[in-house]
Symmetry: C2
Subunit: 344 residues, 2 copies
């Protein structure tokens, strides 16, 4: 009897120093396997799309596992156990983990986690997942936000940015989001409770910042880099904390080639006059504190104070397209790919 | 009877957005006054030259008192009391303070301090003065240097840099200095005990850094900015502290004009992968801890572990020239102007 087949997306080329292309990915069939002892077979329901995935393909990031062309595209997702070789994860269980871009992978149970109690799959990949943790540790631990602070977030309508703004409000801070286009700005203020939003495409960012942050910026949470970072550095309050989380403006450059990288922040020297700090972090640095963060994020999500803003694309074959949306800055909230409707 | 006259240097023009010129200064005569109650008249012996003085003339720095053309050029110095209106500072006393560029100013005694016990005037303006304090707080408090750290200092043969390197050694760290030219590099290693020096004029800085800092840079103490800062950012160790103290590469630009400023540090994003921080400070932020710093700096200076490297130009009329040397990167160690020999 011929093996049943599943589809997988493979890495076909390294997008180093350029934008992603369709030809960087290759859709391939592979046999569906039975799980061994301690393993489960999972049907993938949702995949998370993250800018770091381009870095994984480029294979230059020191913090990620090496990849090669021909490998299954790495990626986190939520799936349902459909065949189990371990009692603790019976068929039907929803799990989260590094599933890769494959429809029906077999995974070691030790590499999967249950979804937090009462958290739907979309939130488990967003506000109450790695995205939420990134916002949480970046704003609270690295940015050390305080009640009354003025927080400015770039990429505010993105996955992390949309959470950072809401956490800033929960922490008693004022928050100004910077995003591209009136629709995104509308969502920030009307749906997520940001105090104000600046549309960098149509507004003069520095002029608006001056009006909206009359005492300066206490926490600048940067997901973008480029001129928006420079605009923020020009308006720091004394003792400001600048949190470098992302730099969507850089991700199409080869980081080893200065000629490709966008200009650095000319206003970095303002940290001297304002005795400020610019700090970088990776969420993995806080792994020992995930449990506490998850508990708090899930509670805020449950009581409605933390909304999970998601941008869902349908269809396994759309995975590369969904990833590309991040670099086109098209996504509003967390970019997800839905492979199959979740039925309870 | 005609009043006795002294000479003073006045600000004649604002050097904003350009290098200093001779015509920015004007030498003028002014009458010598008698001190009132609580005042002393001082004969200026040494003046300290500091890059921040150009900023004072430009009148754009928020942290400094406003100046106007026609004002006496501000500047710190050491002088000897020659007429006193206060018992606590009798004639003959050596004092340190904001004397301005004038040969025989009358100053409120409350604005002057005695020289630390056993510290000669040159060191009182250098290793055991504001320069020493800047190095001390920048390296120990902002940079949080630890025994075994690898410290890299840019502008290492400058006033602050030459102290930073010695303090790093005292703290049990390895220190690599970056300076321009073989003479400066020789001084760092042979006279001041640096572990190594890189001549940025003739050597490939990144290649040398890789060889000299195989485990990366734990503390990067930057007095220069520009490409040297970028080179250091490319080589940070995990958890590195980057201390922004100066940026001689920027001081001839108008900070409000992006077109004039040198490029920002393209490699700033490495703080993410290395979970590092870039921190600015002004020594004034640590004013409450000056007493302790002075005590320790004076002790290290007294026992010969902290050398005061000074570059002395003679003659009151040379004051503008002495200041310009800083921006030409001509000085080796602390730049001082000697107006009169000190006789004990």
């Amino acid at each position: 009897m011929a093996a049943r087949m599943q589809r997988r997306w493979l890495i076909a080329d390294r997008p180093l120093g350029r934008a992603l292309r369709d030809t960087d990915f290759r859709l391939a069939d592979a046999p569906v396997h039975e799980p061994g002892a301690g393993q489960v077979r999972v049907r993938t329901l949702f995949l998370s799309l993250d800018p770091s995935q381009k870095g994984f393909m480029e294979n230059v990031a020191s913090y990620a596992q090496a990849t090669a062309t021909g490998d299954v595209m790495p990626g986190t997702g939520v799936g349902r156990v459909v065949a189990s070789g371990i009692e603790s994860l019976p068929s039907g269980t929803l799990v989260r983990g590094e599933l890769g871009w494959q429809e029906e992978p077999v995974i070691d149970a030790s590499r999967l986690t249950l979804l937090p109690e009462g958290v739907p799959p979309t939130a488990a990949l967003g506000a109450v997942g790695m995205t939420g943790r990134t916002a949480y540790f970046g704003l609270l631990h690295v940015g050390r936000v305080q009640p009354g602070d003025t927080v400015v977030v770039t990429g505010a309508a993105g996955a992390v940015g949309s959470i950072v703004g809401q956490l800033a409000r929960i922490a008693g801070a004022r928050v100004v989001g910077i995003a591209g286009g009136p629709d995104k700005c509308h969502v920030l203020v009307r749906e997520l409770g940001f105090d104000a939003a600046i549309d960098y495409r149509s507004e003069k960012v520095r002029t608006r910042m001056r009006a909206l942050c009359p005492s300066g910026i206490d926490v600048l949470f940067d997901n973008v880099g480029g001129s928006l970072l420079d605009d923020g550095l020009a308006r720091l309050a004394p003792g400001a904390r600048v949190v470098i989380c992302g730099a969507i403006a850089r991700y199409n450059a080869d980081p080893r080639d200065a000629a490709q990288l966008p200009p650095g922040p000319q206003n970095y020297f303002n940290v001297v006059f304002t005795r400020s700090t610019i700090s970088g972090f990776l969420v993995q640095h806080f792994e020992s504190q995930y449990v506490e963060a998850d508990r708090r994020l899930a509670a805020w999500h449950a009581d409605g104070r933390l909304k999970s803003l998601v941008d869902v694309i349908d269809g396994f074959e759309q995975a590369p397209r969904a990833l590309m949306r991040l670099f086109e800055r098209a996504n509003v909230g967390k970019q997800l790919l839905r492979i199959e409707e979740v039925t309870a």
